[in-house]
Point group: C2
Chain length 130, copies 2
């Protein structure tokens, strides 16, 4: 399966997790390809809305482009949603971080596996069940 | 162009209108085909979120399945969004109605052009600019 297929599957896996937890969640059409800053996933309940950029990686560091994260923040402000990233490192559960917790380098944002383990939120923490 | 293509184009047209009005708006992936009740469009700003089912028609009456509208209401409750329909009748502007304003028949919900003209909201009214 190519990277795009893997990414879509990863997004679908998260969609199922949110619905199972009684949150509404859906993938946005044309995320990454349309002209507006649209996140991969939107999840919400009556109290909170989350805008989420989703990554899976076989490496120990996950990079995000400056534009990708800045647009996620911009979307969050306009739509009224908390901007988060969801990253699946190999042999780890999904972890979630607000974009403020990403490290900014001159050319990108980055999340290391070590920081993910230390500062990342598990799904149950993200949705406030733990 | 087939019905699906026309529907997608109609949704894109509305997406542009919302962004032009400084609302975030996007189409949801797999609307109508996935296992969860996901509306065609989501639009929002910091104050309001709208879940919208979109139709274009060459006829004087637009029908909606009971399931379609019930799921839109269900999604609205779970996600915390107002459930609306957007209908484009020929030679009319887009009109918007909350699902409570649709007429329910034993087999479907229906909106006639006459009711649309009388009770429908224009885009500017929907977003509170008029």
């Amino acid at each position: 399966m190519n990277a795009k297929g893997k990414g879509s599957n990863a997004e679908r896996e998260l969609v199922h997790k949110f619905w199972a937890a009684k949150w509404a969640c859906f993938r946005s059409a044309g995320s990454g390809s349309n002209q507006y800053p649209t996140p991969d996933l939107i999840a919400g309940n009556n109290l909170r809305k989350l805008a989420i950029e989703v990554k899976i990686t076989a490496f120990d560091r996950q990079y995000f482009s400056i534009q990708e994260i800045d647009e996620l923040g911009e979307f969050g402000k306009l739509f009224g949603a908390e901007p988060w990233v969801a990253v699946k490192f190999s042999k780890m559960e999904w972890i979630f971080l607000p974009i403020e917790d990403l490290e900014k380098t001159p050319k990108s944002y980055v999340l290391s596996k070590e920081v993910a383990e230390r500062r990342g939120h598990k799904f149950e923490e993200l949705i406030g069940k733990e």
